[in-house]
């Protein structure tokens, strides 16, 4: 009897403990971002509280400077182009992989996933080695190709996962009713896997959008993206302008988060 009460008591304490501990960890996760964002509205250029006054000046500074504008444009140009390539190639490959008849799965799948696993510095140095003689260093094309390669595993994984849940009898039924392979893909398969394709492409975009090591090695001034510009800023002169950019990127992160949640809602799967 008494052991039971201590057991219940200790369970209650343990539950309380888990809650308090988890709350602390969750605070640790968001605190840096929450502390940084208000500082980007601070009038003084020092990074300390209390705020001396509110201003949008740092945001104006960032959005008005030609360097940051170019970085923002580059980030989207490179990110969207790389995503387009990664999505097209990755989706096609995923359709192949998910067929039961796919040969050498044990060899090919790890190869397709490898860009996610291999340390990024190794990728960056290797790309310099090959791209420099081809004249692809310091070009947009070079960075786009590199980022597309880094993004493909995400598309392959999400689309394959989606296709595994896809009922193949549907496409067989469509084919037996006289649909061409293209029609089967377009009308039966694509609508089914589209949420997976979209999720994968968002991951691929985010990969490119956040990538800085490859750009450090194979990109030049003309290819500076937002993270590359932030890297320069940290090493150069940290002013609240960088924090303003960080604030904008955080908002962007929330948008991506909502987008993924919405896509998963559509696909009927619970959020992550």
């Amino acid at each position: 009897m008494s052991t039971e009460t201590t057991a219940v008591l200790s369970e209650r304490i343990a539950h309380r403990g888990v809650r308090v501990f988890s709350a602390a960890v969750l605070v640790f996760l968001v605190a840096p971002i929450l502390i940084i964002v208000p500082l980007s509205f601070n009038q003084s250029s020092y990074f300390s509280y209390p705020l001396t006054g509110l201003t949008l000046g740092w945001y104006e500074l960032v959005l008005g400077s030609p360097e940051w504008r170019m970085a923002i444009l580059n980030s989207f140009v490179i990110g969207l182009s790389a995503t387009a390539i990664a999505t097209a190639l990755g989706t096609l490959a995923a359709i192949g992989i998910s067929r039961p008849s796919f040969p050498l799965r044990g060899v090919i799948v790890p190869i397709l996933i490898a860009p996610m696993i291999i340390p990024i510095v190794v990728v960056a140095v290797s790309l310099y080695l090959v791209f420099a003689p081809l004249g692809l260093t310091n070009t947009h094309s070079g960075v786009i190709l590199a980022h597309a390669a880094l993004g493909t595993p995400f598309v392959v994984i999400t689309v394959t996962a989606r296709l595994m849940a896809f009922d193949t009898t549907l496409s067989r039924a469509a084919a037996s009713l006289g649909a061409t392979p293209w029609e089967v893909f377009r009308r039966v398969m694509l609508p089914q896997i589209l949420p997976g394709v979209a999720t994968g492409s968002i991951f691929a975009f985010a990969t490119s959008f956040d990538e800085v090591v490859v750009i450090l090695f194979i990109g030049g001034t003309e290819q500076r993206t937002i993270p590359r510009q932030m890297w320069a800023g940290i090493r150069d002169q940290i002013n609240p302008g960088i924090l303003a950019m960080a604030g904008l990127l955080t908002v962007f992160a929330v948008v991506l988060f909502l987008l993924i949640g919405w896509l998963q809602g559509r696909s009927g799967a619970p959020a992550r």
């Binding site: 387009a84 260093t137 150069d236």
Partner: protein
């Protein structure tokens, strides 16, 4: 579903369209100039780049690096030089010329070469200015003012972190000076194996207290953040921080190590003619002194000194008050030994 499909297709089209737009690389009339970045870059921009572009229409693309020849060697070997003009330190300008990484410079571009101070014209490069490595501290954070190189190495009397460039240059010279070697004998001692050991040994005494930086701008940043109590720095950067950012920094000129800075055109530069035109322009007697008005580095032409803003003069490396215990870097020593000593330095760093 159909809407999503349509919009995603539009996105794809847009992306490929944007890619096509982005594809054409740097147009023909641009000059890629590589400097040490930060406030030096903005000074060069105001003094030379903007007026040069206004005069010739040549667009200048600014890149930055932290010195050294590795990047350039990589480009030249790959046969794809993406730089047109480089701002270099002396030992790199000498070694780069020896190795065939730089183009020979026609002295005719420079006009009257006798107007340059001695040693300011090399086979592959021409001096752009005279700068100095000094150390600086934040006057609001230190109660007693340090005055010598010895003080920089004295972490008991002056506690706190030290900022130093991630390079053996100047670090080893200072280590010897702090260890009691007179300024005039520094390279004599450093040239011997025992002297080199001695310098590393002295440097090791403060290693745990040192924050190493790569880019020149980081030095002032570390000091401003309070991450270090004193830092090795390039004098011009500290002056800019004092003047423009109103930082309470003070410079210790004792044991300053000064050096020339150079313009050099790399082998395989895409637009050699524009680069030459720029060198000629920026080295001209009517232009060269302008840099000093934006950053406290001295012009290497005799005729240029009187034109510099008088208010700037006391902050230049060669001003008499600053020069009492100064040392010119032995560039030939470093051109010959940089790679081997730097190897040892890198090893020492990661141990």
């Amino acid at each position: 579903m159909f809407n999503v499909l349509k919009s995603s297709r539009r996105m794809l089209l847009m992306a490929t369209g944007v890619m096509a737009l982005a594809a054409p690389a740097v147009a023909a009339d641009t000059l890629t100039v590589v400097t040490f970045g930060g406030s030096f870059e903005s000074a060069v921009d105001k003094a030379f780049f903007v007026p040069f572009t206004a005069k010739t229409g040549t667009n200048i693309v600014k890149e930055d690096y932290d010195g050294g020849l590795a990047k350039l060697r990589g480009m030249v070997e790959a046969g794809n030089t993406t730089w047109d003009l480089i701002d270099m330190e002396t030992n790199d300008a000498i070694a780069g010329c020896d190795e065939g990484l730089l183009q020979k410079l026609d002295p005719k571009l420079l006009g009257d070469t006798s107007d340059f101070i001695p040693g300011a014209v090399l086979p592959c490069a021409v001096a752009s200015m005279v700068w100095s490595t000094i150390y600086a501290y934040d006057t609001t954070r230190l109660t007693t003012a340090p005055t010598t190189i010895g003080d920089f190495f004295d972490v008991t009397k002056f506690p706190g972190k030290r900022g130093m460039r991630k390079s053996p240059k100047v670090a080893l010279e200072w280590a010897l000076i702090a260890d009691g070697v007179p300024v005039k004998d520094v390279y004599k001692v450093l040239g011997t194996p025992e002297g080199l050991d001695r310098a590393f040994k002295k440097l090791s005494t403060i290693k745990s207290q040192v924050v190493f930086w790569d880019a020149g701008a980081q030095a002032a940043q570390l000091l401003a953040d309070g991450a270090v109590s004193m830092t090795m720095a390039y004098n011009g950067r500290i002056r800019v921080a004092q003047q423009q950012d109103k930082r309470p920094f003070a410079i210790v000129w004792d044991g300053q190590v000064y050096d020339y800075e150079w313009w050099a055109i790399p082998k395989g530069a895409k637009d050699t003619d524009a680069a030459k035109q720029f060198v000629s322009y920026a080295s001209g007697p009517d232009t060269i002194w302008k840099l000093s008005n934006y950053i406290a580095y001295a012009p290497p032409r005799k005729s240029a000194v009187p034109q510099v803003d008088k208010a700037v003069l006391p902050y230049l490396p060669l001003a008499p008050d600053n020069f009492k215990n100064g040392l010119q870097i032995d560039a030939q020593f470093w051109a010959d030994n940089f790679d081997s000593i730097n190897n040892r330095f890198t090893t020492w760093l990661s141990q």
